[in-house]
């Protein structure tokens, strides 16, 4: 049974989630990927204000396709997260509590997640058409010049994700594989 989550997500709520939990996210999340992360972290370094409130935020690593007439957004599945590893720890230190992407994360990110209390969700990669339907509003709020890489404020409804890494450092990529292989040897 999927756990319903509201975004913004408080640290306390983020800490309750465990690797392997299926969740449905509703509320406001922010879209940002490589180029936007680079700019956001430069702002942090320079002590400047970020284009959105990072505290308790969930950031979705996504660069959607353009919306067709009448559509809110085009296809919008996750991009591979490790490219954001250089930036995520700084944003987590600023109060970010959730990330949505796909694929492995580096130890520096997991350390920051454990230290501050944050969670890493996986959405199904390559399912952009399906995931785009869960996005009910989309608005570019910064870096329009980056095109697909601009920062967007997204309102989502029952956006399906799975907790990959929780705030204790448990990792579904390890436990999922191990449990499956164990099930074979038990047969």
């Amino acid at each position: 049974m999927a756990i319903k989550i509201q975004s913004p997500l408080t640290r306390d709520d983020a800490k309750k989630l465990r690797a392997g939990d299926s969740c449905l996210i509703s509320g406001v999340i922010y879209a940002a990927r490589d180029a936007a992360h680079k700019r956001l972290c430069q702002l942090i370094k320079d002590g400047k204000t970020l284009p959105f409130d990072v505290k308790d935020s969930i950031i979705y690593f996504v660069g959607p396709t353009p919306a067709k007439p009448g559509q809110v957004i085009g296809s919008a599945g996750p991009t591979t997260s490790y490219r954001m590893d250089a930036y995520s720890p700084d944003l987590i230190a600023q109060g970010q509590t959730g990330m949505i992407g796909k694929g492995k994360r580096g130890p520096e990110v997991v350390d920051a997640m454990k230290k501050y209390g944050a969670v890493y969700f996986g959405a199904i990669g390559g399912c952009g058409a399906l995931l785009g339907k869960c996005i009910k509003k989309s608005e570019v709020i910064a870096y329009d010049d980056l095109g697909a890489e601009a920062v967007r404020r997204l309102t989502v409804e029952d956006f399906p994700v799975v907790v990959i890494i929780d705030s204790l450092g448990n990792n579904l990529y390890e436990t999922g594989r191990d449990n499956y292989l164990k099930s074979l040897s038990e047969k």
């Binding site: 694929g103 990669g125 390559g126 339907k133 095109g147």
Partner: protein, 279 residues
């Protein structure tokens, strides 16, 4: 000598860019469906079910299956009795430009790998020409996403590494990639040739339908054996655990130097896209 106007190439490229991105090939769909039915691990089956739901939504709404609509890799087999009237490379890029704009596809190309400014129209395409017999042109568009491209590897093995070295490198590449390239994946392999030829063959291997084996019995058997090894790693769809890590292993091979054993692995995701038309 048959004359083909470059404008016809533009129109064909444009159409194929849109179709390849919105409608998944029957061979891949059949393979995903088969593996869905055979998958023993419940979480893995659920993910495969979502993947099937997704490509059906894309087809019914004429929208991209995945938001990474890729770099446009364009393969042309040009009959030697064809004369193209006009600038063939510009015609291809114009087709990509129009297809990505009119098809509402994402523009994912930067003009320089270091300064990284988006070209805004998904050009330039990666173009590969081949000259063949006849008076026709076969055009294939394969939009390539980079989540999987980034997990691809090449090794210049020693002849003494032999068959076992080749197998180990391929399986190890898939293992290290883990969840990153959006499994279930299609594994394109190029064995032999030179450094660049091996990489090219690995990409070319991804154009072959997943239900067609290499014509050489030895390599056909190797494809089956490698698929079995990869699907016992336990990575599973999206890396959540399960049997279905790869949908197929496609190998291309060619002669090589006495001192070398090049092996390239080009990984593609479950959205392995390619569309061909002959003009």
């Amino acid at each position: 000598m048959r004359e083909i106007n470059a404008k016809l190439i533009t129109q064909t490229v444009k159409k194929l860019c849109i179709e390849a991105n919105c409608y998944l090939g029957e061979d891949i769909k059949d393979r995903i469906q088969k593996f869905y039915e055979e998958e023993p691990w419940p979480q893995a089956k659920e993910v495969l079910g979502r993947i099937i739901e997704n490509y059906n939504i894309a087809k019914d709404t004429d929208q991209p299956i995945c938001q990474d609509t890729g770099m446009a890799c364009v393969f042309l087999k040009i009959g030697q009795d064809v004369h193209v009237v006009g600038d063939i490379k510009e015609a291809i890029n114009e087709g990509v430009r129009q297809g990505y704009e009119e098809g509402y596809l994402r523009k994912s190309v930067v003009r320089d790998p270091i300064d990284r400014v988006n070209t805004g129209d998904n050009t330039p395409a990666m173009i590969y020409f081949d000259i063949v017999k006849g008076d026709k042109i076969e055009i294939t568009i394969a939009p390539k996403g980079f989540g999987s491209e980034n997990m691809s590897r090449i090794a210049m093995l020693k002849p003494s590494d032999g068959l076992q070295g080749v197998k180990d490198f391929i399986v190890q590449t898939v293992k290290e990639a883990g969840p990153n390239p959006c499994p279930p994946i299609v594994v394109g392999v190029g064995i032999g040739g030179t450094f660049d030829k091996a990489a090219y063959m690995a990409k070319e291997a991804l154009l072959r339908p997943v239900d067609v084996h290499n014509q050489t019995p030895f390599y056909a058997q190797l494809e089956g054996e490698l698929l079995e090894s990869i699907n016992s790693l336990g990575i599973g769809p999206q890396g959540f655990g399960g049997k279905t890590t790869a949908l197929a292993v496609n190998i291309e091979w060619c002669p090589t130097h006495i001192a070398g054993l090049p092996v390239a692995v080009n990984i593609n995701c479950h959205v392995t896209r390619h569309k061909t038309e002959v003009i």
